[in-house]
Symmetry: C2
Subunit: 400 residues, 2 copies
């Protein structure tokens, strides 16, 4: 039994994990279900948008030339030819010296090249007095000014925001090709674990990691598949891992990754594939495992929930992003350290902090305390080459 792990740097661990990300599959979904999905291909405009010269205001469609010199005192007087209908092409047209009323969004009649805002016009019998000159194109969006037919409206790889979904609708995309949601198998191991519905007896604790991992991957746009609690039994773990590899794109196993005789995760992975990394220079989270079996990544997370969550944020997040061919979308905020934090050179420390009024206060607490997960609002990374953070130093807080 080796006492110490052969650790790799966090950067190497991330690179290894990204390197074994299975290629994404794609699927088509109705546009109304596409929010936050990642586009597998470009969305192009199928037609010119808006497709016709369109008024941006309520007013009178005119030939701009007819308003040259018009002002408050000497208005241009134009013959009123009625209203443009919304939503159709009724062949409306104006001759020089005339105008038509057009509501916001309405099409310009033939012969018009600008719209005089209603605020500057006055209807007098069959005539309209225009009190301000308009330039050609004024208050008009031209037929292909928004998007031209064939133009890429949204590029492949875009994570669709509500605005993007709206623009895709304009482009006629009632369904879109998106990266399929990765299925992530979740296994918790440990004789000490009991389900959340149980009242733990002495020596037992509830399975927190299934919920932590499941919620984490859900938030990142993946679909969790729960395989429950497996006791410290290599054969049982290997059987469950085999089942999970058959159904999922990635498997997360928490617990059983310490370098002691309970090191079942590494043994189970090795029996089905290979262990690529066992031990990362990260605190907390050192006994992390990165392996591959059935051409799928298998990650061994520490049993401590707080440590497991740091590894999810620092390493697994990058793997999920690679699997979905997108960027790691994490929220960060700038803050200044409220106190010194010592760190050990040679490993990356992830310090839990509470941020208030731009100050990041470390949330200290023994390794393994769950309450640090809710007392902290984020993580500050101390690079491996640093011996700590200094009070008032500006840091980036990962809002985890």
């Amino acid at each position: 039994m080796k006492l110490f792990l052969q650790v790799v740097s966090v950067a190497e661990a991330v690179e290894t994990a990204r390197g074994i990300a299975p290629p994404p599959r794609s699927e088509e979904v109705p546009l109304e279900d596409a929010l936050r999905r990642v586009l597998a291909g470009d969305v192009c405009a199928d037609v010119d948008i808006p497709g016709f010269d369109r008024s941006t205001v309520d007013g009178y469609a005119v030939a701009a030339a007819d308003t040259v010199g018009a002002g408050e005192a000497i208005p241009a007087m134009l013959h009123y030819r009625g209203r443009v209908a919304m939503g159709g092409d009724d062949g409306a047209a104006i001759a020089p010296g005339s105008c038509m009323y057009v509501p916001t969004g309405g099409p310009l009649p033939a012969g018009a090249d600008a719209v005089a805002m209603i605020e500057y016009c006055e209807q007098v019998g069959d005539d309209v007095l225009v009190h301000r000159a308009v330039a050609p194109g004024e208050n008009v969006v031209h037929a292909d000014e928004d998007f031209t037919a064939g133009e890429v409206v949204l590029a492949a790889g875009t994570t669709l925001s509500p605005r993007d979904v709206g623009v895709a609708a304009a482009a006629g995309a009632d369904a879109v090709g998106v990266v399929a949601v990765p299925k992530v198998g979740i296994i918790s191991t440990g004789n000490e674990l009991v389900p959340v519905v149980s009242v733990p007896r002495t020596g037992e604790v509830r399975d927190v990691n299934s919920y932590l991992c499941g919620s984490f991957v859900t938030e990142r746009g993946c679909h969790p598949v729960y395989y429950g609690i497996i006791r410290d039994d290599r054969d049982a773990l290997t059987r469950t891992l085999t089942a999970a590899l058959g159904e999922c794109d990635l498997v997360l196993i928490s617990g059983g990754s310490s370098k002691d005789e309970r090191d079942n995760t590494s043994a189970a992975i090795a029996s089905l594939g290979q262990v690529l990394v066992h031990g990362v220079a990260i605190a907390p989270g050192k006994p992390t495992i990165i392996g591959q079996a059935a051409e799928k990544p298998v990650i061994g997370l520490p049993g401590h929930p707080a440590s497991a969550y740091v590894v999810l944020v620092a390493i697994v997040d990058h793997l999920l992003a690679a699997m979905m061919q997108t960027e790691v979308a994490r929220r960060t905020t700038a803050a200044r350290m409220a106190q010194n934090v010592p760190s050990q050179r040679g490993r990356e420390d992830y310090v839990r902090v509470a941020v208030q009024d731009g100050r990041a206060t470390p949330v200290f607490g023994k390794s393994g305390l769950l309450n640090t997960l809710v007392r902290s609002t984020g993580l500050v990374r101390v690079p491996a080459g640093r011996e700590g953070l200094e009070v008032d130093e500006e840091v980036e807080v990962i809002l985890w």
Copy 2:
């Protein structure tokens, strides 16, 4: 026909909208479905957590007093009494002068009050040499140190993060009481609108606002109910609004809110309830309507998608937060203006900007262009009392 709207400030509009937010209902959901839901009540620990004195490391459980004075040269020698089993209470105990192996997370045997890390110990036959003294409590989490039975673990009003879901599991909450998801009815009006599956003819444009509103409220944790496209017909709109009010907690109607003869939204609301606001000092978005019918809020949004979206962010977001009794959860970033932006005193301008390397560049474009929705990454608010923003001025960008 009045030409001009009686506008109120954005702050008044928000206050009016929040004031008519219907009280939230609550429901119980399984914990695995509770991510991002808002807690309707406190979640308390049902038992002490972890519930027993627990090792945070792999090592030997000892009586700290037995290690006093131990060092590299003169170790403490303790009799090895075997291993503590994980997950049970096997009545393990040590007498003074002895120790037991305990894995990370395991229970301390009776008689032990600290754990010596395995790295500083050496097993020699039936004895263990401890090369470093440990203090009482060292490497141990006490039985109620994480949470005490009855303690509030997560307070009502918390929007559940993945970490919160994990901690709720530890507290035994296999189901949680959360604010029910508000149902938001979505109606698009306008003779010019055609469904996304249609190819628009001259004068027609696709219905973008249904998708924009639906995705927006989905992202905010609400459930959209789509009522499709209603032509410019007061009776038809009134009938659809009546149906929507019967099924939803809030109704959003886009289009038909200009102060011209197409002003059907205001008429439909007035026929079923009352119009509280018609016109807000915001640009874009001035013809916004806030009304109430059947004791539910009804919001009239501008027909232009870009204007409608600004109103969703600036006003409707606050209403949704009030309905869910939570805070407006918007992402912001600090940036400096890349150029001057003039603004009209007396109204709040929301300037679309693209942010890169900390510089916010205004995305200009005619009112009504959809492409500004995708070319911009956020909104910068110009307060009503300001005449504009100056180059290099520090601003808060709402990442919309």
